[in-house]
């Protein structure tokens, strides 16, 4: 059933596939993000309570959702790397970790910038904010472990165990606003109910979210390519690629 996947366990096949995929992902992101952001900043009506300040929602929420989504992706890669010993899964986890860390920083930073005018404080140690900060530390730990060993397999294993252990934080972040009293409000979009946002506000959000997702995918593919090249630098196919580049 999974036979069609097998060729992609070969670094060379995966590398060429990612190289081909990158421009498409980049192009889609380059179209969706400007459309979504301009729509959100210029054309969406202001919120009845928060006025124009609520527009940071279109950056904050996609960043926060992706920071969690990327982490789940890393954990799945780490899991399959530990069980099936796929070296490429380690490479993809190592490629994704810094992107996820940056999105976590963006979510925390935009959250602070939104919290100051609306709540009246930059930061508060409530369950949502604290668990998201822990997510940032988990990312930093994963990145550090990937770089802590010269042996990439050992590094992948250590970082993989940390990312699998840390995945427990993801449902905690998501449900923190339901389980405990927090200053942070509940989920607007990522819930089974109807989104609690009017339709004209929701559409640009979906476009922004898709745009940022494709952006993450494009960055991830690019980083995955370089990661694969770095890890296989002694292989003949990489050397052949390098000499072909030099000749150009």
């Amino acid at each position: 059933m999974w036979k069609w996947l097998h060729p992609y366990a070969n670094p060379e096949v995966s590398y060429h596939f990612s190289v081909k995929l990158t421009p498409w992902l980049t192009a889609i992101a380059a179209i969706l993000i400007p459309v979504g952001i301009v729509w959100a900043l210029a054309f969406v009506p202001a919120d009845y309570q928060q006025g124009d300040s609520f527009r940071i929602f279109y950056l904050h929420v996609p960043a926060a959702m992706l920071s969690m989504g990327i982490y789940v992706g890393i954990a799945i890669a780490a899991f399959s790397s530990l069980v099936w010993q796929l070296k490429l899964a380690d490479a993809s986890a190592a490629a994704l970790a810094p992107i996820g860390a940056i999105f976590t920083v963006i979510a925390l930073f935009t959250g602070a910038a939104w919290g100051k005018p609306m709540w009246g404080t930059w930061w508060i140690w409530d369950a949502r904010l604290t668990s998201e900060l822990i997510l940032l530390f988990l990312y930093l730990g994963v990145i550090a472990l990937h770089n802590a060993f010269d042996d990439k397999n050992l590094a992948g294993k250590a970082a993989g165990i940390l990312s699998i252990v840390g995945v427990i934080n993801i449902p905690i972040i998501h449900y923190s606003v339901e389980w405990w009293n927090t200053l942070h409000q509940g989920a607007t979009v990522s819930k089974l109910d109807k989104p609690s946002m009017s339709v004209e506000m929701l559409w640009p959000f979906l476009i922004c979210f898709l745009g940022f997702s494709f952006f993450v995918a494009a960055l991830g593919c690019k980083r995955f390519c370089t990661e694969v090249l770095a890890r296989n630098s002694m292989r003949p196919w990489v050397r052949a690629l390098a000499t072909a580049q030099e000749k150009k």
Binding site: V83, T121, A127, I164, W179, N181, L183, S196
Partner: protein, 159 residues
Amino acid sequence: MNPRRKKRLTIVSSILLGIAAVAGLTLYALSQNIDLFYTPTEIVQGKTDTGIKPVIGQRIRIGGLVVPGSVKRDSESLKVSFQLVDKGPMVTVNFDGILPDLFREGQGIVANGTLVGADVLEASEVLAKHDENYMPKEIAEAVGENHQKLDYNDKQLSN
């Protein structure tokens, strides 16, 4: 799946399950302590499952809805007092300072301060809580969701 992979799969899955169980139990044990604030009912009657009640003089946070019509403001200074409610008794909050933009009657807020009476809090900080609903003004007016914003006069701001 070959036996070695199967073994690794079992090991990794059981570690994950074990950690999930540990985290779940820890959080369950801590559940009341992770709450950011007491609700007015909890201040008067104690927490629902433990019965813990804050004592007078304790620094606490309280969260609830501002009772409409309860906001009393000193016309000379920034002193303000209002009542908070969730679903039972009310607690009075006294505050001296500029309230956040989102402070309105009927709005959820979190106040940080010292409990000076059984149901009176001397707040040093008032934070506004907003909900997860976003809508344009016209829709809010149509469904009657609009709360009036409070404004300061020049005299109050000059103090």
